[in-house]
Symmetry: C2
Subunit: 392 residues, 2 copies
């Protein structure tokens, strides 16, 4: 099949869309920083994806973002992402070739062209990847995603909890190996297969997944997820330039963009890291728990966090303060830079911020599929704003 995609601007003209945002290097660096903060300790190293997106922009490939409301109902979209243990990524960098391969084989399997991309999650790798892919593929990117955070498994999306599916998913690697996974409505099996394929490939795969129509995108996505990440990143960057408190600016940006309260609950120093299951990458996940001793006004208190790629639970002095799918970020107090589960070390200092998950992640189906019990914790989900009601 010849490449049916043209370029993003021509596609938008065809749809009669005049309002769109051009993503330049400044924009992508802000979006990526914001997405990394929302990534809840996961999502991987932003540098690799950012450098790739800069290269795409330098090559004159336009990256255009559109409002989901403007997207025609009938068009075919899909998400491109990296799936595997983020720690392996530094050895196996991305390329336009592999993404074009994945997207092309998905189009071949679907029998129709893909006319826009939808970011999968907010994360240091997959956020810039979504934009680089849009530029490489010559299609617009829609201002949505499936999580507005990062999560360890492919089915943990607002898409699945609202009745649409990841199948067919195409998984490829740098050596041009291709696997097409089509499990119908069994999204957990699709995740199991995609994970095993990534491991067989050597730890990392590039996927084209969630082939949704424009209508499905509007009805099941986290709308304006990209704008939220962009606002968060812009606020933190401005705080750096103007020597303001980055955490305070971040919380203000969330209030303004999403009308939600975030919570600054702790500052401390990492004193113990327990990575589970022998090798941290042998199941395709980074797993374990971490202990943080309080500093400054939190001196004498202890925070503990469990993680599976992303932070899952936060306890302070044994009291549960945040449960999935609500968001946890440990941020450098001076720069607002997130401390990720895959790079944290003994002695790192940071401030812990809690953010309510998007409402489309908090449905009964969402709590069932990625609430605390799903991850093996004997705890009922309570919204972060209730657990921290004394902090308002």
């Amino acid at each position: 099949m010849s490449n049916p995609r043209s370029n993003a601007r021509a596609i938008l003209e065809k749809w009669g869309i005049k309002n769109f945002r051009v993503i330049d290097k400044e924009a992508i660096s802000e979006i990526t920083l914001g997405a990394s903060i929302l990534a809840t300790g996961g999502g991987g190293d932003p540098e690799i994806g950012l450098l790739w997106t800069y290269k795409v922009i330098d090559e004159g490939k336009e990256i255009l973002m559109v409002d989901p409301i403007d997207v025609p109902d009938g068009i075919q979209t899909a998400s491109t992402a990296c799936l595997g243990a983020a720690i392996v990524l530094t050895e196996k960098p991305p390329s336009g070739e592999v993404l074009n391969l994945a997207m092309g084989r998905l189009e071949q399997y679907l029998g129709r062209p893909i006319q826009a991309t939808i970011p999968l999650e907010c994360g240091g790798v997959n956020s810039p990847v979504a934009y680089a892919a849009a530029g490489e593929l010559g299609v617009p990117v829609i201002d949505v995603d499936g999580m507005n955070r990062a999560f360890p498994e492919l089915q943990m999306t607002s898409w699945v909890t609202h009745g649409v599916h990841s199948s067919p998913t195409v998984s490829v690697d740098n050596r041009k190996n291709v696997t097409v996974i089509d499990t119908g409505d069994d999204d957990v099996l699709a995740e199991t297969l995609a994970r095993r394929v990534a491991m067989a490939y050597g730890g990392i795969s590039w996927i084209a997944t969630y082939p949704l129509t424009g209508k499905q995108v509007k009805e099941t996505s986290i709308l304006y997820s990209q704008s939220i990440a962009w606002a968060v990143g812009r606020a933190v960057m401005r705080a750096r330039r103007e020597h303001l408190d980055p955490i305070g600016e971040l919380l203000k940006s969330l209030k303004k963009e999403r009308n939600v309260e975030g919570f600054r609950v702790f500052s401390g120093k990492i004193v113990d890291i327990n990575r589970d299951f022998g090798s941290e990458t042998n199941k395709g996940f980074t797993l374990g728990s971490v202990t943080v001793d309080g500093i400054d006004t939190y001196k004498g208190q202890t925070a503990t966090l469990d993680f599976q790629n992303e932070w899952l639970n936060l306890r302070i002095d044994g009291k549960v303060l945040c449960l999935p799918p609500d968001l946890i970020a440990i941020l450098d107090s001076e720069t607002g830079e997130p401390i990720r589960t895959d790079i944290m070390k003994y002695g790192y200092r940071g401030t812990i911020v809690l953010i309510p998950a998007h409402e489309r992640m908090r449905t009964a189906k969402g709590i069932e599929m990625f609430g605390p019990r799903h991850f093996g914790y004997d705890l009922d989900y309570v919204p972060v704003e209730e657990l921290n009601s004394d902090r308002r």
Copy 2:
């Protein structure tokens, strides 16, 4: 894509082929018995596949076998088979629907119709499956296979050792899950992926694989593999009816059909079975070793055999007498029925027969890919006729 297959007789007419054999119930029972003997202890329970093939024949679906030499060079063929731990099969029986799904998706991925099937191996499951599939799909079956024995891994074929590949392979299950595996010339990765997919499906998968052209079939297959299995099965069945020695008749049939000498080397009783790696099915293979104490003229001698689904090595009193890819069969001395690795029990009595592998399995590439060192044994391959030259 609508089903482009018609029926086997119409296809043969189109090719101008007038010579073919109609496979009836007697034929398939003989072929399956012979294939089970050649399956080297593996290949699974013949009953399920046989019953299915009888049903296909009862439904009036013709099964026609053609000489590979008559097949046009340009046609597209493929192999259908069961991949997984044979022991799971009794819980998850086959159906025409899953094979049609697998073949249909392979045709969709290739973009061309499949006009004939090629059996993958000689085995209790996959031999009748190849015939049932031909009947269900309405295409002829070609008198070849990729092994003329059974082997534990998908890449262990004369096809791969002669430069053609298993990709793309489509793997499906009873719940209509579909995975397309396309690893180009990396047949070992294709096996790894196919095995992981089968395990994720619950232990068993149905595959459409090795999409070869007619020319490739002729140049790389074990030619007349089906005729060999048929001759062996017919000989043993006749021995049963006429109260002849089934082992002697089997050896005569091999001499006549293939012009090779087989060796009757041992009779004994299984006294110890060591199944490795905890669960015999958790890696997708039946693994271990077995000890057989000699009876009758072999009293006082001890035979040991290693297996991985199939028998691999035979030692008698420590002396190596057979190495892969040469064939080992343990047969009931009265009936000639093979004793398989997945059903053998303490106390089973049998006669051990050794058969030289087909020449296309004994190339340097073949020894590299499925000789003793590949299976982890520090032994150089020596042909079975040299190891047993004193028995001629």
